[in-house]
Amino acid sequence: MFAAASIAILIVMFFLLVRVALGPTIFDRILAINTFGTAIVLLIALFGFLTARPDFLDIALLYALINFISTIAVLKLFRCETLGKSVDE
């Protein structure tokens, strides 16, 4: 079942990649990339159980956080045209 779930996640990742390629707006791409991060967190967690090494979960945890940071950074760039100012300025 781990294998089946991993393959399902791989299929999900493939189609998210298609969405990244197709766009059409940049927001579609960001949405797909953000979801891609979720998918890869799930894949790594599943893979850790698949190979009976749940210590991989540390990496899944790190990814769950990193993914958020890059998404917020790019959205801030959109909003403020720069990364160095606060949103209110």
Binding site: I9, T25, L31, A32, F49, L57, F68
Partner: protein, 103 residues
């Protein structure tokens, strides 16, 4: 216990696939967000719950719960920031004729 775990993993995968189908089928960005949030919410929750049922190690369970918690806290924030920025961008591009629509 194990049967429940397999069931949760299978259901989670199915919801992830449905979400992806929605991401491909739905017509515009604002509705695609709904499809992506299926993967982020029930897909992720069910798969992680399924994994929690697989192990007796308390540390592993704690880490899985932490992953779930972080996802549930950061996911909606990221989606809201994305939708809000898209909305602002749409508004500014409708008033400003020179504004190029992002690709």
């Amino acid at each position: 216990m194990l049967v429940a775990s397999w069931l949760l993993l299978g259901l989670g995968s199915v919801f992830c696939l449905i979400g992806t189908l929605g991401l491909m089928r739905l017509p515009d960005f604002y509705s695609r967000v709904h499809a992506a949030s299926i993967i982020d919410s029930l897909g992720a929750i069910l798969i992680l719950l399924g994994l929690i049922l697989q192990t007796q190690d308390l540390l592993v369970i704690a880490k899985l719960i932490l992953i779930l918690l972080f996802m549930m806290l950061t996911g909606p924030t990221a989606v809201h920031a994305l939708a809000h920025t898209a909305l602002l961008n749409e508004k500014s591009s409708s008033t400003d004729e020179n504004h190029q629509l992002p690709e």
